[in-house]
């Protein structure tokens, strides 16, 4: 084992980590917001909106991310109309194009995960809230969103790990993040295994931290479900505790 080389490589790769983190956090945030919009369309009951949401999910889940990224980066620049529009300073930048395509793609997957969470909200909880006079946004904020989020979090953390891995594709549109730098070192030194181990270690640690954080969040969201007695009928006062927690 050549430790100086390993440490040198690790240092070079760590220097590219902020780019990977930037790609990841921006695309997950934008993608999450887009996904909320798509889920809203999907469950709106409006024929055209629902069709659009279905088509969106089909297209972005059914084709590889790489071709979507190339379409945004190389495809859009082909049109003079795009080159002369006010979006051009953004679409000219490989980093922005990578974020846009990552966000569009993850929105398709995330929308389906959120929809699954939404479908898992028990109808009786919504009914109970309506019976106490909650409606509209308050109902969504206090009852539906927290339950749906809690149900969706386990599969959302899988999608998040997939997103960490997907940021690697940005190197193919000339964004120098961790995988891109690793590829450059490999082609300079031909020491594939060592470089792979360093890069893999970075990604695994990153994934581990993110999965842990989401796990903690899920733990927090299900605080009221722990320590609940097996037979809730014998302790009617427990329900009062639940309401206090939810606020």
């Amino acid at each position: 084992m050549d430790f100086p080389f390993l440490i040198d490589t690790l240092g070079k790769l760590m220097a590219a980590l902020p780019t990977t983190l930037g790609l990841f956090s921006l695309s997950v945030t934008i993608g999450g917001l887009l996904a909320i919009g798509i889920v809203w369309m999907r469950v709106s009951g409006h024929f055209v909106l629902e069709r659009f949401a279905r088509a969106y999910v089909f297209v972005f889940r059914g084709s590889p991310l790489l071709i979507q990224m190339f379409l945004v980066y190389y495809g859009l620049g082909q049109f003079p109309a795009v080159r002369h529009s006010l979006f051009w300073p953004l679409l000219r930048e490989p980093f922005a194009c990578a974020v846009i395509s990552l966000a569009l793609c993850t929105a398709g997957y995330t929308a389906e995960i959120f929809r699954g969470g939404l479908l898992a909200v028990p109808a009786r909880e919504v009914e109970a809230a309506r019976a106490t006079g909650m409606s509209g946004f308050l109902l969504l904020r206090r009852i539906i969103a927290p339950i749906a989020l809690r149900q969706a979090l386990p599969s959302y953390s899988t999608e998040i790990v997939l997103m960490v891995k997907s940021t690697a594709l940005a190197s193919l549109v000339t964004v120098w993040e961790v995988t891109g730098v690793a590829q450059r070192i490999i082609s300079q030194t031909y020491r594939t295994m060592e470089v792979f181990l360093c890069a893999a270690a970075i990604y695994l640690v990153l994934n581990f931290i993110i999965v842990r954080l989401i796990g903690l969040w899920e733990h927090r969201l299900s605080r009221h479900r722990r320590g609940m007695p097996v037979s809730s009928l014998s302790k009617p006062l427990q329900a009062g505790g639940n309401l206090g927690d939810a606020s």
């Binding site: 089909f58 297209v59 059914g62 084709s63 590889p64 991310l65 790489l66 071709i67 979507q68 190339f70 379409l71 190389y74 495809g75 859009l76 620049g77 082909q78 049109f79 790990v161 960490v164 891995k165 997907s166 940021t167 690697a168 594709l169 190197s171 193919l172 995988t179 690793a182 590829q183 490999i186 082609s187 031909y190 594939t192 295994m193 792979f196 890069a199 893999a200 990604y203 695994l204 994934n207």
Partner: protein
């Protein structure tokens, strides 16, 4: 309508090459499914064996290859494999660089990733086989191998089918990344066509549509297979 000619099957059209590319994508994905099935079975077996070392190796395999970017695994196999082939060539007296064939590199790389996912699918399917059925087979005196072949494997295949469908779709999309090794599959062909005609938008849209055709057809195929294998089982959630 100039684009009909660029996409057609004539001497200036790219239609034929794109179709060959789509078939190559299918071939790479099929090969990787085979590689992944072998690796996945071994890893699932290691994880279920109860042996501490084997279990650790199995866990490490699935954690690494499900947590590291696919592109990095492809670089590992392609560059690492070519390096190994070159060294082997030198030992045998060949001079210069010898590359690993890109089809083989792609099938192995995507197969290694698919193996990590398949291992989890097979493990889940094995755990879903009711212990009573294995006990019953043992009670009537079936030997170990026969029990495995007659009782366990048919049920694992059935339980694993939905999971395998997901892995297949994942591998189909991962195979697009094999384009970095220069293999003329659908992604690479779209790239070459886009570059040489300067019609980037058109060819990436067409390539994307062909991928959509592949994924939706395979979705249908797996749905039909599930319906076929599920025929003899009771409908609904629970099993008898």
């Amino acid at each position: 309508m100039a684009f009909i000619e660029t996409l057609g099957f004539g001497s200036t059209g790219w239609g034929g090459l794109l179709l060959i590319g789509a078939l190559t994508t299918l071939a790479v994905t099929l090969a990787s499914l085979g590689v992944g099935a072998v690796l996945g079975t071994l890893v699932a077996w290691a994880k279920l064996s109860g042996n501490r070392i084997a279990g650790f190796v199995g866990d490490a395999y699935t954690t690494i290859f499900r947590g590291v970017p696919e592109l990095l695994v492809i670089y590992l196999v392609y560059f690492g494999g070519s390096h190994a082939v070159t060294s082997a060539g030198k030992a045998l007296g060949f001079e210069g660089f010898l590359g690993l064939p890109s089809f083989l590199a792609g099938a192995i790389a995507v197969g290694v990733i698919s193996g990590a996912y398949q291992a989890e699918v097979y493990r889940g399917a094995f755990l879903a086989v009711l212990p009573g059925e294995i006990e019953a087979a043992r009670a009537i005196g079936m030997p170990r191998l026969l029990r495995f072949r007659r009782i366990i494997v048919p049920q694992i295949l059935r339980f694993a089918l939905p999971g395998l469908g997901n892995v297949w779709q994942l591998s189909l999309k991962d195979s697009a990344l094999v384009s970095v090794t220069g293999l003329a599959e659908l992604m690479r062909t779209s790239q070459v066509a886009a570059g040489s005609t300067r019609q980037y938008f058109l060819f990436y849209i067409v390539g994307g549509c062909l991928y959509l055709v592949l994924t939706s057809f395979s979705d249908r195929a797996f749905g039909a297979a599930e319906a076929h294998t599920g025929k003899s089982f009771r409908r609904g959630l629970g099993r008898a």
